[in-house]
């Protein structure tokens, strides 16, 4: 599928990258900026009303949710939430520490701070904000960053409050926990300058590195939440939300391009078949009676609960419902997602996949007969309470009509597999109005100057410095800059100058990655333990060869370095022990030495290392062996 020529397709991608800030308290109150493990003692219910937009119109999805009686249940505990999160007290003044971090990020991305920061209310009515809006403000505009020789525009740097944590959604209730609400987030929005999936990944990585350099954001590189705006020529602007990991970005872009291309091909196929919007029969046929005695459990249950089964006839659509959009995503899946969202149904059945699911050949035949569908037609059925079925099928019908035009503008949700699923219609132009409860913040030029003169070094400069000052390879230096151990590296090198910097760097990057890949939980190795590890090596109590085993053991047991050395029997051999072992091995290899002379050293080294790996320094051992051989062959 990556056979696409993205340039020809007119691919344009923009990123919205979010970083949670490591501040001591939240953005608009004094609650700690951290999730809570405390029990939720307080529960209360709210309803959010769609308010009029400037055009007197309301967000259709929001209005729909409200009409369907969506109730939001909030859970809170006293440690992580106060009346501000409950929307029972006006917000306090903005957290200046967060403003400083946001300005620092802005300056590192060459953006220009605004002169006055105005906090806005961005209407969000899904319940994730108790107020019904997210508080957000532009901190800087118009930046750029050079990535691999290409300049990528930065449209804006915003500072905003994180949303409440969704716990579950069932029926007409949605449950949120309030602890996360109000934690400061920085949003970096790029211009739509990105032209390929790989580039999208690279840009996200590069910006992530820069932001991480402040040392004031939470989590490690990659664990940031991102939204991606993707469009191709003749396709539509699709906003993909919640891409959970950096590494997923190229895949999500690839898949979305493929999905849009396939939808455009579907449009061609519809034309080729001579179909048009007028050929769609908008009738919902009641086919409940067809399935009175069905063996399909889903349908039987719906009927048993007093529900109905309605059918939608699609003349000439045979085969198109299984039209493939992505791996694991067919046109029928898209339609089902619409039915799920708008009708709160479990899904739909269609004739391209029937008989199946307990629905027999006879029932399909009867279904076709009842709605008057011919062989070349397709039929969709939906089951459930009458109102839900009607809402669901109406959404399906609308979506089918859009297929004649091409790709709909949508907000989609990224799945862990890298495909995207329908989430909701794209909201109109973001509706924002001033948060009048928060005073305007003047950005004093002196403040900007102070931050400017204290900017963290850019990753590219740090990489260069690590190569020059510590003699690291470029690869190692880059990996170090991407890691969370950069500061530890500097500390270790300062404390133990005798240790080769490359050993420290490779342990903190390559070795850790290797252990992680092997399933070792490296998050359980505290950084002071790593520091002790390097101290032990510097003091000759441990050889670097033993590092992987020691770390794996600590991650599993929580033991100290000394305990790990003891337990794994990785105590370095004393020079007496070593001499004895070497002379023993050499004397056993007489014939080898006679045949190969000094070249036998390698083989002898190998067989000793087999037994004593990690307890001996290889280069010292090699030297002792060579000396011993020389002594013998004189």
């Amino acid at each position: 599928m990556s056979g696409f020529n993205y340039e020809d397709l007119g691919l344009k991608v923009g990123l919205e990258l979010h970083f949670q800030l490591a501040t001591s308290y939240k953005l608009f109150c004094r609650c700690p900026a951290a999730l809570s493990e405390g029990e939720a003692k307080l529960k209360f219910e709210r309803r959010l009303r769609p308010t009029q937009s400037e055009l007197g119109e309301v967000d259709p999805a929001a209005l729909f949710e409200f009409r369907k009686g969506l109730t939001i249940v909030y859970e809170a505990d006293d440690n992580s939430s106060c009346l501000v999160e409950l929307d029972e007290e006006p917000p306090h003044a903005i957290n200046e520490e967060a403003v400083d971090i946001a300005l620092t990020i802005a300056l590192m991305l060459n953006a220009k701070p605004v002169d006055e920061i105005h906090v806005m209310r961005k209407v969000v009515i899904d319940g994730s904000n108790t107020t019904g809006f997210q508080r957000t403000c532009v901190v800087a505009l118009g930046g750029w960053t050079d990535i691999d020789g290409k300049r990528i525009g930065i449209q804006s740097i915003c500072l905003e409050e994180d949303a409440a944590r969704i716990l579950e959604r069932s029926g007409d209730k949605v449950y949120y926990r309030l602890d996360r609400l109000g934690i400061p987030l920085v949003e970096v929005s790029t211009s739509p300058d990105i032209r390929s999936p790989e580039e999208a990944g690279m840009v996200a990585l590069a910006i992530g590195r820069i932001v991480l350099s402040t040392g004031r954001v939470k989590g490690e590189l990659g664990s940031i939440r991102q939204d991606i705006n993707i469009s191709i020529r003749e396709g539509a602007l699709v906003e993909v939300k919640g891409v959970q990991h950096l590494s997923l970005i190229p895949k999500v872009v690839e898949n979305e391009v493929e999905r849009q291309v396939r939808l455009l091909e579907l449009r061609e196929e519809l034309r080729r078949r001579g179909l048009s919007k007028d050929s769609i029969d908008p009738t919902f046929y009641d086919v409940t009676d067809v399935f009175r005695k069905t063996g399909c459990r889903i349908l039987a249950k719906a009927i048993g609960n007093g529900g109905v089964i309605y059918a939608l006839k699609l003349p000439g659509f045979r085969g198109l419902l299984s039209w493939r959009l992505n791996e694991g995503l067919r046109f029928g899946t898209e339609l089902a997602d619409y039915a799920i969202f708008w009708g709160r149904l479990g899904g739909i059945f269609h004739t391209d996949e029937l008989p199946g699911y307990g629905i027999t050949d006879r029932e399909v035949e009867e279904l076709r007969r009842t709605v008057g569908a011919y062989e070349q037609d397709a039929v969709i059925i939906a089951a459930g309470p009458k109102e839900n079925v009607e809402d669901g099928l109406k959404a399906v019908l609308d979506r089918i009509l859009v297929a004649f035009d091409g790709v709909p503008e949508e907000t989609r949700r990224a799945e862990p597999t890298g495909i995207t699923r329908y989430m909701r219609p794209r909201p109109g132009a973001a509706r924002m109005y001033p948060e009048t409860d928060i005073p305007i913040l003047v950005v004093d030029p002196a403040r900007v100057e102070r931050l400017k003169s204290n900017l963290p070094e850019l990753p590219s400069i740090r990489v260069k410095r690590y190569i020059e000052e510590y003699g690291l390879s470029r690869k190692l230096a880059e990996e170090l800059v991407n890691s969370i151990y950069e500061n530890l590296f500097k500390e270790v090198c300062r404390s133990f100058p005798s240790l080769p910097a490359s050993v420290v760097a490779s342990t903190l990057t390559e070795t850790m990655t290797m252990l992680k890949r092997r399933g070792v939980n490296i998050d359980r190795i505290p950084s002071d333990r790593l520091y002790d590890l390097f101290r032990s090596i510097a003091e000759g109590r441990l050889f670097k060869e033993a590092i992987p085993d020691i770390l794996a053991y600590i991650a599993g047991s929580g033991a100290s370095i000394t305990e790990a050395i003891e337990e794994l029997k990785l105590k370095p051999l004393t020079s007496e022990e070593l001499s004895a072992i070497v002379s023993d091995e050499v004397s056993r290899s007489r014939s080898l030495i006679e045949r190969h002379g000094l070249n036998a050293a390698k083989m002898i080294l190998g067989s000793i290392m087999k037994k004593y790996r990690g307890r001996v320094d290889t280069s010292i051992l090699a030297k002792i062996i060579e000396d011993e051989i020389r002594r013998i062959i004189g």
Partner: protein, 445 residues
């Protein structure tokens, strides 16, 4: 539109630049400062903002402030992109078989609307606005909407109470099933008390309602409060003046507090209003009104209904505190005040040092009544010597009346009593549920 409105809030250099470019609030504008270009819609300037900034709403919807007092600044007017107008929702058709009620606007948070384009908060109150945020109203009643005035509740005076009372009177006489009065929450309790005394032999419910969160927010409590209030006006069995607000943190129940017993007890919560020394009389839940007490005034006929809406202005409420200077009382007396309600400590006390000044007040014909700053409970001035001394010089213990209610009641009483004895007798007579003879254990938790 006057020029001052065109450039809302702009002063000094910013205003000069905008005037010379011919830009008004709401126009598309381009500002170039030292080569950097900003484009958007000119937003109004808040009054307290400095005059060296121009605020624009960017195309992304965000507002930013641009400093125009330094560097090379140019302001240009751009051609209008599109005419954006607030389009009020269509008013749902009134259903002929529904009861008729009146909703009277007086201002406050509940009657504000945000202009999303500029961010200005406009105090508008019309039928359109009401239906805009609560279309369900059309299923409850046929509604007459009238704005009496549009003021913050802290600007309310006894004269405003009189106006509201006579306006309610007009509607009640025209046969409405109930009246809703929207009101700022800060002094809603005082107005509720005033109307409780002014509307004699009320035949229908009069429901005061406010909001703690403005209606422009999706989370506003205004809609549910208003639905509860309108439902009560249309079909509740009681005919009293009440305040309708959230019962708790959830958007489920609206509770109706008796007008003489209600107090705003929290600065910001939705459930800020509490009934003090009494029970709320009814609750609204899922479109239904349920009575919580037996003892309430039932709906009745119009006969006997009258309005006595005069209030004596020269009445004050004085809070005693340690170190209180008794000459404060002298000051009021010398200024011609006719009544003083004291918010004393505990069971109803003030320092002995105050006694000469209070005696002087009473001797010169000023009514002095005692309430307690404890808020909950009843005064009893027989327990301690100070209390007995205060009674001896003529201070009237006002039972379990709220200090604010006592103030309002005294204003009302002094406007009609012809003697001090009559005033004293009226103050101690329960007229609108403001005094109870028993103190229930339920009333304080």
């Amino acid at each position: 539109m006057s020029e001052s409105i065109d450039l809302q809030g702009y002063k000094g250099r910013a205003r000069e630049l905008l005037l010379s470019a011919g830009v008004r609030v709401g126009d598309e504008v381009r500002i170039i400062r030292d080569g950097i270009i900003y484009e958007g819609v000119l937003a109004p300037r808040v009054e307290y903002g400095g005059d060296e900034y121009i605020v624009i709403k960017l195309r992304s919807g965000y507002n930013i402030g641009i400093r125009v007092t330094s560097g090379d600044v140019k302001v240009e007017k751009l051609p209008a992109r599109r005419e954006v107008r607030y389009k009020p929702p269509t008013i749902p058709e009134a259903k002929a078989d529904l009861p008729r009620i009146a909703i009277l606007g007086t201002g406050g948070t509940i009657a504000s609307r945000v202009d999303y384009r500029t961010g200005a908060v406009t105090p508008i109150f019309s039928a359109d606005d009401l239906y805009g945020f609560t279309p369900e109203l059309a299923d409850i009643a046929r509604i007459d909407v009238e704005t009496i005035f549009n003021i913050f509740s802290e600007d309310m005076t006894p004269r405003h109470w009189s106006t509201i009372a006579s306006k309610i009177g007009e509607y009640v006489e025209s046969g409405v099933k109930g009246v809703v009065v929207t009101h700022g929450t800060d002094t809603m309790g005082y107005t509720a008390a005033a109307l409780s005394f002014a509307l004699r032999n009320l035949p229908v419910p009069v429901v005061l309602v406010g909001a703690q969160r403005s209606p422009d927010r999706p989370s506003s409590d205004a809609a549910l409060n208003l639905l509860g209030a309108a439902t009560a006006a249309a079909k509740a069995p009681f005919a009293e003046v009440v305040v309708a607000m959230h019962r708790g943190l959830s958007d489920d129940e609206i509770v109706f507090h008796r007008g003489t017993r209600v107090r705003k007890c929290h600065t910001s919560r939705r459930d800020a209003f509490k009934s003090v020394n009494g029970d709320p009389i009814a609750v609204y839940n899922s479109c239904e009104i349920r009575m919580l007490v037996e003892d309430y005034r039932r709906r009745g006929g119009i006969e006997g209904f009258k309005i006595e809406a005069d209030f004596e202005d020269k009445v004050t409420l004085v809070k005693f505190y340690p170190g209180f200077d008794p000459s404060i009382i002298d000051w009021y007396v010398d200024r011609g005040y006719r009544g003083i309600i004291i918010e004393g400590t505990g069971l109803g006390h003030v320092s002995n040092r105050c006694i000469p000044s209070i005696k002087r007040a009473i001797d010169s014909g000023v009514f002095v009544g005692m309430t307690s700053q404890c808020i909950w409970g009843r005064v009893n001035m027989n327990v301690y010597r100070t209390g007995r001394e205060l009674q001896a010089i003529g201070v009237v213990p006002l039972e379990d009346m709220l200090p604010e209610t006592a103030l309002v009641k005294l204003m009302w009483v002094l406007a009609r009593a012809s003697s001090m004895d009559e005033a004293r007798s009226l103050m101690l007579t329960n007229i609108a549920g403001e005094i109870s003879v028993r103190t229930s254990f339920r009333w304080y938790t």
